[in-house]
Every structure is written in C-alpha cells, then in structure tokens.
C-alpha cells in the first residue's frame, strides 16, 4: 500500500498562525470539501475531498481515463486526468476503499499493482491522504503461423499454458486460447508476468493439392519448434511486456487413417487424439462422427490413438487406446471403448471417544459432511477427477488410468481427514495409481478430535504476510493464511500431529507443498506438536523471499 501524506516544512510560528486562520476559515466556509482541518462531529458529513494519482506500476507513467472509485457503502467515481491525477469530492470522514481500473491493466486483486487500498482518508492531523494507485499493465503474446512457402495458416488453434504453483504445487494450467485470422496472426492479451508455453494446433489445415498427389498435414507445434512441452521453450514475460511467438511450420506427407470408435453410450462425447508412441510429441486431434466413424491424416510412424468418451461435464466415462505403425493409408481401425470402472470412495466417521456422542455425526443429518476428493495428474492430457455421489459415505471416482496427486479436505470444519488409503498405499503421503479397472476402494476416515493452532507473526512485511502450515504427517497437504492487517492467526480443525509453521512476505511461485523446496527454509520454521482437542500457540518471523536462495 502506498499512501503519500501531504507534508509541510514551514516555520512553526507561521504554521501556528496559518493554522488559526485556516481553522477560522474552516468554521465559516460553506464548501464542505475545502475544510478538512478538523474531524467532523459526524463522520457522515460529506465534507472531504481526496486528491491522488493513478500510475503504471512498471513505468511510473500516469494513466489517464482510469476509473477511480471510493466506496464506503455509497461511492464516488471519477476519471483520472491526462496527468493521472484525480479528485473525489463529497467524501465522509470514514475509512473507505479506493480502487482504480482500466482495460489493459490488472485490478489490484489479480495483479501485482496496488490499484486498490483500504484507507482512513482523514489522518490524525485532519488532512486527507494523497494516494498513488498503481496499476500493473497486462502482458501480451502475439504472433503468426506460417506454413509451407510462408503461407499464412488461418483458423489455427493457439493455446497458451503455464506451469503455475497452485496451493503450493507446481501444475500445468491452460491459460488462454484463440485462433489465427486470415493473415495467420493471433494475439492474446491479459497475461500476468510468468513463463508461458505457446502451442499451435494446425492439424485441421490439410493441403489437398490435387486428387492424385499426396496429402500433407501439419502437426501440433510448441513454440518455437517443439513437438511437445518437453521440447518447447517458454516465453518469459515481464509485467506489461509484449512478446512475439512466430511459428514457421512445415507440412508432412500424410496417410489416411480411418476407423470406428465403438461402444460409446448415448450422450457421451468422444475425443480422439493421436500421440507419438515415444510420448514426446502430439499428433492430430480428430473429430469423431455421430456413429463413431473417424478419418485422420497422420504422418508415417509409430502412433498411439487414444479415444476418451466423456459426459456433459467432461468427466471421462470410457476409454480405448491402440498402438500401431502407419506406413500407408489404413482403414478399418477399430477402437472398442471400455467403460472406466469407478473407484469406490468409502468414508468412515471416527468420532473421538473424548467427544460426547453427537447424533449429528451421522452423515445423513450432518449438512456439509463428507470429504472433498480431488485428484490431479502431471500429464496435461489427463483431466482432474473429483469423487462424486449423493451419499457422502459412498462416493466414486472415475479417472483415466494414470498417476495422480490426491487432495483431501473435510467439508465440515469440525472434522479432519485422519487417514486415507487404497490397498497398501497411504494417500496422505503417496500418489494414487489407477488402471482401467476400478479395483480397490479408497478408504477415508474422518475424525473430530481436531487441534487448533494460534499464532502471531513477529515481523510482518509492508504488505502483510502469509502463514504456511505444513503437516509432517502429510507434507504435500499444506494450509495457508493471508494476514493483511493483523499479525495474529488461527488454524482450526487440524489433524493432531507435528507441524512446521512459516511466514513469508509473499508466496507467489513458491512450491511450499514440495518438501524439497521448503527445505531451504527449514531453519526459519517454527516446529509445533498438536495434541487432540488442544490448542497450541506459536510465534514466527516473516521470511523475506529473495534473501534465501530457493
């Protein structure tokens, strides 16, 4: 928060005289906006004016025609001027929220700027603050897609993705998508600073030069020339940066590959994609007709064709996969979808004996009971999965075969996940590995002899602090709490056990759920053991990132 106070540097005697004169003027003035020298008896009197500036947080340049808003229930609005300045009149002497916004800049809640602040606009000396509202400019990636002989390729799908740290875990996120225009150009605004992978998906651009010559096809390409994410180079964007990603693609001779995807239930939508058998490259994604027929143009080589039938919500319901070598046109490929067997998710309640019996612990009578089960894969082609079911004690999880990280959270704050397992795998510490068949159930036990942790952050940063709580029992399951104005915190509903507590000035990009990454801060962590039904207290110091080599 940047709040610039109006300061005077004058002779004290002269100042006293001036103050008396101004006070007298304030008592007789008719314009309430020009008399900010004494706190009003009624803070609702609309007596105050506020002047400030809106600037670009990167360049410091003034921003004109930004919408500045002061809100305290009612609101005042004003456009900033060409020099970025604004003045809001008719304000009460109350705390209020000041915001600034303009297309092309991120609002404060989304970006790194301080385009919003909560402020007591009238200071102890009776003067109003002069805020400087900083807006972070959005970054942009634009570029072109050219094919053979530098022909612009139209209607090529462009996707932008990024590895982002979400809940302390590094995971792939699809950020934005667009299509090239008739000149092969694309433009994606609205990007935050970060590293982005840009991919062109031109597989629908097939050349049919004549009925006799060979068809040619373009394959998906990750900027600049990668066949997959592993061989791509991310574009590193600073705030407000404009970067170009120009693709120069070369078509490959293609064979016609056709067949049938059979076994899809009505209402399911089939997605079919060819994947290079080495796993390093993406092949074409192919449309499947209503009767399951497909025809693709595929370059020669070893390919895996994978069909996934999903429901209206995109949840996978059936799956088929075949590997084959393409050396010529090929028809009659048959993919028989196999329904994915749901994995049963059984949830037990284990109320602690020390807690008096409570009839509400019965699932059927406890609103919001049960547990949220969310599984995530490192493979972007495998969608997340959520346990579903009307009965919170007996749910099911349907996912493609693969390896998944498991996130668990009790829906009722008075309960916590005591254990989660599948066969011999402890899902609080190990990933979930699934095959095509459902097999063993996931068994989750909730208990309610939770612990509570009180604490305080000894040295908060200028912008507050973020407290990170890491369970030794399940290091990948971390909790965070943002402290804006207070230095005290409380975590409720914790599983008993040993914890590390850390406080950071910021956690953007910090893989705090990765024990290896967090190891760099072990010396600054407070360690605390939590007993069932007990409250512990801890005090931590703020770690200023950048001081430690992460």
């Amino acid at each position: 928060m940047t709040v610039k106070l109006i300061c005077f540097n004058v002779n004290p005697g002269l100042a006293a005289f001036a103050a008396i004169c101004l006070l007298a003027h304030a008592c007789t003035a008719q314009d309430p906006g020009t008399s900010p020298w004494a706190r009003p008896a009624n803070p609702d009197d609309l007596k105050y004016s506020l002047s400030g500036t809106v600037i670009n947080s990167v360049t410091g340049a003034p921003i004109d025609h930004a919408l500045v808003k002061a809100s305290w229930g009612p609101s005042r609005l004003r456009f900033s001027q060409s020099d970025g300045s604004f003045q809001l009149d008719g304000l009460p002497g109350r705390p209020m929220r000041l915001t600034a916004e303009k297309p092309g800049f991120f609002p404060a809640s989304n970006g790194g700027g301080t385009g919003a602040l909560d402020a007591e606009i009238v200071q102890a000396d009776g003067q109003t603050v002069a805020p400087v509202l900083k807006l972070e400019p959005e970054a942009i990636i634009e570029g072109s897609v050219l094919g053979d002989e530098n022909q612009p390729l139209e209607n090529v799908a462009i996707t932008i993705g990024s590895f982002q740290v979400i809940n302390g875990h590094r995971q792939w996120s699809n950020i934005a998508a667009t299509n090239t225009d008739d000149q092969g150009e694309f433009r994606i605004p609205g990007l935050h600073r970060g590293a982005y992978y840009v991919a062109a998906h031109p597989e629908k651009n097939i050349d049919f030069p004549s009925s006799t010559s060979t068809e040619r096809v373009y394959l998906p390409t990750y900027y600049p020339h990668g066949a997959g994410i592993s061989t791509a180079t991310p574009i590193q964007l600073a705030a407000g940066q404009h970067a170009r990603a120009d693709f120069s693609l070369h078509s490959l001779p293609a064979f016609r590959v056709s067949g049938i995807v059979a076994g899809a239930q009505q209402g399911l939508k089939i997605k079919l994609r060819f994947v290079d058998a080495s796993g390093s490259a993406s092949g074409p994604e192919v449309e499947v007709g209503a009767k399951g027929a497909f025809e693709a143009r595929v370059p020669g080589g070893n390919w895996i064709v994978r069909a996934v039938a999903g429901d209206a919500k995109g949840h996978p319901r059936a799956y088929a996969e075949r590997a084959f070598k393409i050396t010529d046109n090929r028809a009659g490929i048959y993919l028989d979808l196999v329904p994915l067997s749901p994995i049963p998710v059984v949830v037990h309640l284990a109320p602690a004996e020390s807690i008096p019996s409570n009839p509400e612990t019965d699932f059927g009578r406890l609103p919001g009971s049960g547990v949220m089960v969310h599984v995530l894969s490192d493979d972007p082609s495998r969608p997340d999965g959520f346990a579903e079911g009307k009965d919170p004690a007996n749910m099911s999880l349907t996912v493609l075969p693969g390896r998944y990280r498991v996130e668990l959270a009790a829906k009722n704050r008075s309960w916590y996940v005591q254990s989660a397992s599948r066969g011999s795998a402890d899902l609080l510490q190990q990933p979930l590995v699934t095959g095509a068949s459902g097999g063993q159930p996931i068994v989750i036990t909730l208990s309610n002899d939770f612990a509570t942790l009180h604490g305080s952050v000894a040295v908060a940063g200028d912008h507050g602090a973020v407290v990170v709580l890491v369970s030794q029992r399940s290091p990948t399951d971390s909790k965070t709490m943002f402290l804006r104005t207070s230095s005290d915190f409380e975590f409720h509903g914790l599983a008993p056990g040993d914890y590390q507590v850390l406080a950071f000035d910021r956690i953007d990009g910090l893989e705090y759920a990765n024990p290896t990454v967090l190891g760099a801060y072990a010396g600054k962590a407070a360690k605390v053991g939590l007993q069932p039904n007990a409250t512990a207290t801890v005090s931590v110091q703020t770690i200023h990132r950048g001081e430690i080599n992460e």
């Binding site: 609309l46 025609h65 229930g73 609101s75 609005l77 433009r187 605004p189 004549s210």
Partner: protein, 264 residues
C-alpha cells in the same frame, strides 16, 4: 485452406442441361471449340477457364467443384492448370452445379447478373471468379481508447426483408475487428458494446444526515451510461446507415467511435 465440399454444394446454382440447345451463359465466353451437343444417354464433358473477374487473368491451382443436382452425392473436383483451365470428363446426363474457390477467392458459384446460367454440354465456359474482399477497423470509445469485446455484426441489407447476418466477430484488446473472405457487395456494420466503466445502481442518496448527495447524482449522469447499437459510420438507425459498397479485392477500413448515452 480448406472449404467444406458440402457447403460448396449448397451454393451451387449452375444448371448444366445436357439436352437444351439454347445456351445462355452470361459468364460468356469465347467458344473456340464448341462441340456438338451430346446425344441422349451418352457421356459428355465440361471444360472451361477460371479467370480473375477483376483483371481477367487466369486463376491456376483453384478447386473447381462439380456436383450433379439435385441428388448428387459425390462431388468431382478439378484443380485448374497454369492457364486456369479445368475439365470434367465422362459426365452422365443430368443437371450440375459448378462452384470454385482458391486462395484469396472465396467459394462462389458460376452465375450471371441474371441468376442461374444454362450451358450446353461441350461449351467452353469462362468462369469469372471474384477476388475476396475484407472489412476491418477499430472501435474506439469517446476518450479515444479501444473498446474491447465489442460485438461487430456484418449484415447484408435488403429492401424486401430484414438485413441478413453475414458474420459476427468481437474486437480484440486494440478494439480491432476483421471480416475476411468477403464477396463484393453491399454491407452494413452494427456495433454493440458496453462502456467498460459503466456503473449501474449508483445510490444517489448516501443516507447521510443531509440526504443531499449532489455528487452521486452527478456520478449517475456520467457513469450510468450505455452505448446504443451503432451502425457504421455513426447512426443508431439502420435505415440511415451508409452501406459499404465493397468492390472485388478491396480492403475496406471502417473505424467507429462510440458515444455513450444516459441509461434509462
């Protein structure tokens, strides 16, 4: 660039009548090698030249699509040669549609100002293909800033009926829109957008002791606004909009500045 063959079929209007003797192609035609009309039940051919309607230069490498109507299931495709020539052989008797497209030439059917063309088997057709045109521009607000995500609709005006929607797109972050692959003709542009700064439900009374809040009333005037649907160049009434007369190959720039109006 691919075009759906099916859409080609839908646009076809040429009727090739094998047994009619009065040819009336207005896309005429030198007829250097006029052959004798094919006897009934004998196979025949269609051949011709594909030329740029703007400069009458040949269009090589174009796709010419022939389809028997009304029941033809399998279109036949010919690629024009270096001199724009094309030919379909072994055609059974019947009616046919003929369409063509190429890079920078949108899909179009062989037609004349009078409508459908009737040709006789064996004619040497001259198929004049009109080069594509485009309309692009920038939508700006009253401050000179780009209007993002404005909905831009391209319409074909008609005196007999409501204007027909040809296409829709949105402006990008620079306020820019673009319609490509257009045939020459008359078009209307309609822009629908919301001021990014518009505020609804401004409380004109703060509930303060005085209940007199002229500042909120002033804010309501300035910020509780809309942009009316605006037709190029700057009118709210489609009747008084100036249609864009788009010529073959023309790239027309139609910039629009929106003016806010107090919301009701």
């Amino acid at each position: 660039m691919n075009r759906s063959v099916v859409s080609a079929i839908l646009l076809g209007v040429v009727c090739l009548q094998f047994f009619q003797t009065t040819a009336s192609t207005a896309a005429q035609l030198p007829k250097p090698n006029r052959s004798t009309a094919s006897p009934r039940n004998q196979y025949s051919h269609i051949q011709g030249l594909l030329m740029n309607a703007q400069n009458e230069k040949p269009v090589p490498g174009a796709r010419v699509i022939l389809l028997q109507v009304p029941d033809g299931n399998t279109p036949r495709v010919a690629i024009t040669g270096a001199n724009g020539e094309f030919r379909f052989d072994h055609l059974p008797p019947g009616d046919y549609s003929l369409t063509a497209e190429s890079e920078h030439f949108p899909l179009q059917a062989l037609r004349t100002n009078q409508g459908s063309v009737t040709v006789t088997a064996g004619d040497n057709l001259v198929f004049l293909l009109k080069p594509e045109a485009s309309i692009s521009g920038a939508v700006m607000d009253e401050h000179g800033d780009p209007v993002r995500n404005a909905q831009v609709t391209l319409l074909e005006p008609s005196q007999q009926r409501e204007a027909r929607v040809i296409g829709q797109t949105q402006t990008n972050d620079l306020g820019i829109y673009r319609f490509a692959h257009l045939l020459p003709g008359r078009y209307l542009l309609a822009i629908k957008a919301e001021p990014w700064y518009a505020q609804r439900n401004i409380r004109v009374s703060t509930g303060s002791s005085s209940n007199d809040d002229p500042w909120s009333q002033a804010d309501n005037t300035v910020f509780n606004v809309i942009y009316p649907v605006t037709y190029y160049p700057l009118t709210e009434n489609p009747e008084s909009a100036n249609p864009i007369e788009l010529q073959p190959g023309q790239h027309f720039v139609a910039d629009v500045t929106l003016t806010p109006r107090q919301a009701e």
